[in-house]
């Protein structure tokens, strides 16, 4: 773990150095140096409204995750336990799973309006399918011997769900979340370009294209990257805490 952490810091330092060199070589306002961006970041946190936008985005992405887990995990468990239901729904999932959900942003906005729910819903769509498929496959892939063993200890359907299917699906849920974080944050950005004045997507776009405050725009990009990285680290931490056998 120490080695990994050290490597991450080295990689970060290398990226910042590259950025600094590029900024110095180009010497254009559209690429401020990391030092300038750090200054803008600090200024925007203390005096600007970056924290407010960060929290708006964080809320949307966390709410989407909670909603996706709450709906996709039980649905995946049910499909994984029932070959008949799985056979029925598999073609639908097969067709809808690969659709790039970001193209549905305008449609979702048309149907659900411009409020927070539309933005949460579009990220929910991405996470839902990812978690559904992973949990379903995990539940379906449990060895029959394990199920029979636990049944022989007296477990009926409810106990199997509590003691076997639910804990077995935890890693699949976390894997689904981890795999979707990058896409979810990217789609969040796109969703926040439409009809809102809150969120990092709006902040980045508004700072760059309207205010032409490029250091602030980059500060927004850094905040959005930090949001993704934070969620990624949190998922790793949750996996260590909840799945210590892995």
């Amino acid at each position: 773990m120490n080695i990994r952490r050290r490597d991450i810091f080295i990689a970060l330092a290398a990226l910042l150095l590259l950025w600094q060199i590029l900024a110095a070589v180009l010497h254009q306002p559209i690429l401020p140096s990391p030092v300038q961006v750090a200054g803008a970041f600090a200024r925007e946190i203390v005096r600007g409204d970056l924290p407010e936008h960060f929290l708006a985005s964080l809320w949307r992405v966390v709410a989407s995750m909670a909603l996706s887990i709450a709906l996709a995990a039980p649905a995946g468990l049910i499909l994984g336990q029932s070959p008949a239901l799985n056979r029925f729904f598999s073609p639908v999932i097969y067709l809808t799973y690969p659709i790039p959900k970001v193209v549905l942003v305008p449609v979702v906005l048309l149907f659900l309006g411009v409020g927070d729910f539309a933005k949460i819903f579009i990220i929910f769509l991405i996470l839902f399918f990812q978690i559904l498929v992973l949990v379903r496959d995990q539940a379906a892939g449990l060895r029959p011997e394990l199920i029979q063993s636990v049944r022989s200890l007296g477990a009926g359907r409810r106990a199997l769900f509590t003691f076997v299917y639910l804990p077995a699906s935890l890693p699949a849920i976390l894997t689904g979340v981890r795999q979707s974080i990058g896409t979810a944050v990217a789609v969040l950005y796109v969703a926040e370009l439409f009809a809102t004045q809150h969120g990092l997507g709006y902040y980045i776009y508004y700072s760059g294209s309207t205010l032409l405050d490029y250091p602030a725009m980059y500060a927004g990009i850094v905040a959005m990257s930090f949001l993704g990285a934070m969620l990624y680290v949190a998922t790793d931490w949750l996996e260590k805490a909840l799945c210590p056998w892995k």
């Binding site: 394990l146 029979q148 636990v150 003691f163 056998w245």
Partner: protein, 264 residues
């Protein structure tokens, strides 16, 4: 204790494995079921465990026709069936937790539950009895095959079964571990007085663990072919001429049955 009465069984779209099969096991007896791979040994065990059901006939255990797994029957499978996400102590107390989950409903757990046995102390006592002390917080993935099998035995015996079923329990273990677990199983059987049925394809294992040996050859099985082992449980049995004669007989019978001829 166990009565199989005119049992028919076939998997869907497959030929019959058992056809009008009768078999009886008395309380406290120790049986080994010996046969080659694919002959239906595990199916027989699942029928006894209430995990599969005959298409005709009855499987009666302790006077009751089986309609679901019996709370007093313990089952240990070849790959041990441990929860990979639970540590040793949680795996050992899994059965007790399932019993507490349902309460004494007579269906998932016995109608009269032993007060002490329902507590965690029972799990800890079995961990100690099976020589697993110090490994309580280890996960199955961190244990050797022999240790995993000890966990599976502790988990099952913590429920105080009156019938213990084992499916090829030692086949994936190295020879010294296999021998030590075989001896442990025999001493636990003598101590706990449960009825015992073990499935095996190993002749030596059948000779050691079976007071009676049920031979299964090519299906469908109609008439049980039983070889008694009068020297069962005798000290140093493996060093005796009786043991050598028994293993020779079992080997010959197995060969004959596998070839599809009826010798008994």
């Amino acid at each position: 204790m166990i009565v199989l009465n005119q049992v028919n069984f076939a998997y869907p779209h497959k030929d019959l494995l058992f056809e009008g099969f009768d078999w009886q096991v008395e309380r406290g007896q120790s049986w080994a079921v010996l046969g080659p791979s694919g002959c239906g040994k595990t199916t027989l065990l699942y029928l006894l465990a209430g995990l599969l059901f005959p298409s005709a006939g009855q499987v009666i255990v302790d006077g009751q026709v089986l309609a679901r797994p019996r709370p007093q029957t313990g089952l240990i499978l070849q790959d041990f069936g441990l929860l990979p996400w639970s540590n040793v102590i949680d795996n050992v107390r899994l059965g007790l937790r399932i019993r507490r989950f349902y309460g004494p409903d007579g269906k998932h757990s016995p109608a009269q539950m032993d007060e002490w046995n329902a507590r965690d102390e029972a799990a800890r006592a079995w961990v100690k009895r099976l020589g697993l002390s110090g490994l309580e917080n280890q996960y199955p993935g961190q244990l050797s095959g022999g240790q995993r099998q000890r966990v599976a035995i502790a988990r099952t015996l913590a429920l105080q079964p009156d019938l213990l079923l084992m499916d090829e329990p030692f086949s994936s273990l190295d020879a010294p571990t296999r021998m030590s677990l075989r001896d442990l199983t025999l001493s636990l059987r003598a101590e706990q007085q449960f009825t015992f049925v073990v499935i095996t394809h190993a002749i030596e294992e059948a000779a050691h663990l079976g007071q009676y040996i049920l031979m299964l050859g090519r299906p469908p099985h109609r008439k049980p072919q039983i070889i008694p082992n009068p020297c069962f449980g005798r000290p140093n049995f493996a060093d005796t001429d009786d043991y050598r004669a028994l293993t020779r007989l079992l080997g010959e019978q197995l060969q004959t049955l596998t070839a599809g001829e009826t010798a008994l």
